[in-house]
Point group: C2
Chain length 313, copies 2
């Protein structure tokens, strides 16, 4: 495989894939990142053409692991040098990447991916071979996806000890807006609000530290994911604002936040008891396989060991 | 000392104080809590009068460790049975408790307290003798407080391995609104919003779990703290809503959340580098000691070892 971008996620992916016995070659734009990877014993270059030529020669799976704004440029190079390689990505929005891939004419070899893992840190050195252990890793099942490529990306995710969640790109983005992008905006607003109150930082303890943890993420990364998913994030943010406004009115008018607090507790309790049954019977490439996987993923089911597919029949 | 209420905080306090070599007697309304404490080797009763008679006999420090709605009733019994005992509390709002204590005529022996520690669990069994290790423990320095009582409560907090932060009650409440009560409301709204999106719980990982952790707190406890601090919480919530509305408009109009994200990151960075110098030169009971402690606390300073006071002169 060929990993383009050796930051937190791409770097963790290199480590996890090599630990699982895979051959991997990495590209990073900055000399520091590529040198750090080589120092740790990995194959890496700052020469994009070299990396893509290697991928083309080995028919390697190419993984886009760069921030959203860099995707378009990389796709142009892939189209030139390695247009027939299977292609995936680990970017936190799926609709926007899908449109870029479509525009580049690379759709038939592409399956979108998003491992739901990370920390507030960034760069090669922040990576960890065990980053994906037990984490949900979304693979897209939009209408265009090819079963053979899907099987390859599924095996990569499973090799990294993740559990695979099949999902449509737009459904992924709506979910990501509510569980990832909205929490970022709330954490930023909370950090600012507290920072304006004398004594607040002096008293802040574990719960404030947890609640603002993601506000320590590099602003460019937060902007990239939120702004690329604006279409889904705006209605999600509006819903949260509606709930908070309603609670504000209730607190002022009735000195009660009962409605918000009870519904919030109930939702969190449902989350705690959310089960993840295993998908075992769906075979990749069979009739309606994409729709069946999307329905199973929506119901909470995950893939824990490789499904039968085109190569296994 | 006499601890009234053996839930998460009161129960942890019993354990920490006894571990530090103190004699402690506990009261709990429910038989289950008192029996669990006795089973673990502590002295505890469900008979409030027995507990308060013990406190009066030993001139013991009484600690109110019950939810806000139960405070008024307990103060009436204290006034009857143990009116001369030094009195503190561990409740998360300070202005509302102060008013109840004033109304009960017990102000001259009272110093408000609030250890900034806890978990999402509740009850005796959730307690931990190390709950307060390194945690900020606010002691109020409002105009009425007596230096001798203050010294007693300070020594209790230090015995529990906390660091003492002196603060005025109203400044504490404004800070608590921003670092504790607002985070609760945001977590509730986030849990509800995500719970309405198909696939969201299926994809949720560590950051969502952290961001909604406090939504697992029992609704009654969350309501008690938020509703008792409405006066400070409403303007704090309004500020957060203003920031989020502004970000929403910017996201829709300019596809940018730069302003919110950069200010949030800057605030969180300031929090990470917030230092806690030690208060050493202020002596309890000397001229302006309350004002000097309040100013030091506001600047981030804390008490790590007992200050000189009335008993040490």
């Amino acid at each position: 495989m060929c990993v383009l971008g050796l930051g937190l996620i791409g770097g963790s992916l290199m480590r996890a894939a090599v630990t699982a016995g895979r051959e991997a070659f990495g590209y990073n734009r900055s000399v520091e990142g590529a040198e750090a990877a080589r120092f740790d014993g990995f194959s890496a270059t700052t020469d994009l053409t070299e990396a893509l030529a290697w991928a083309a020669e080995h028919d390697a799976l190419i993984v886009l692991a760069v921030p959203m704004p860099a995707v378009s440029l990389l796709l142009g190079h892939i189209k030139d040098t390695a247009p027939d390689c299977p292609l995936t990505d680990v970017i936190s929005v799926k609709g926007a990447v899908l449109e870029e891939v479509r525009a580049a004419g690379l759709l038939d070899r592409y399956v979108g991916g998003h491992p739901m893992a990370g920390t507030a840190h960034s760069g090669w050195r922040a990576g960890d071979a065990r980053m994906f252990d037990g984490a949900p890793w979304v693979l897209t099942v939009d209408e265009h996806v090819d079963a053979t490529v899907w099987a390859q990306v599924m095996r990569l995710a499973l090799d990294c000890s993740a559990v695979v969640v099949p999902a449509k790109s737009d459904e992924h983005d709506a979910a990501a807006a509510s569980i990832s992008h909205l929490p970022h905006l709330l954490a930023e607003a909370l950090a600012i609000t507290a920072g304006e109150v004398p004594l607040a930082f002096a008293l802040a303890a574990g719960s404030f530290r947890d609640a603002t943890r993601v506000a320590a993420t590099a602003p460019d990364l937060v902007r990239a994911m939120c702004e690329a998913n604006a279409e889904q994030l705006v209605p999600t943010l509006d819903r949260a604002l509606e709930l908070l406004h309603h609670a504000r009115q209730s607190l002022v008018g009735k000195n009660s936040v009962a409605e918000l607090v009870e519904a919030g507790h109930a939702a969190r309790t449902r989350y705690d008891s959310f089960s993840r049954p295993q998908i075992v019977t769906i075979a990749l490439g069979e009739e309606n396989w994409r729709e069946e996987l999307a329905a199973a993923g929506r119901a909470g089911a995950v893939i824990r060991s490789a499904l039968r597919g085109p190569d296994s029949r």
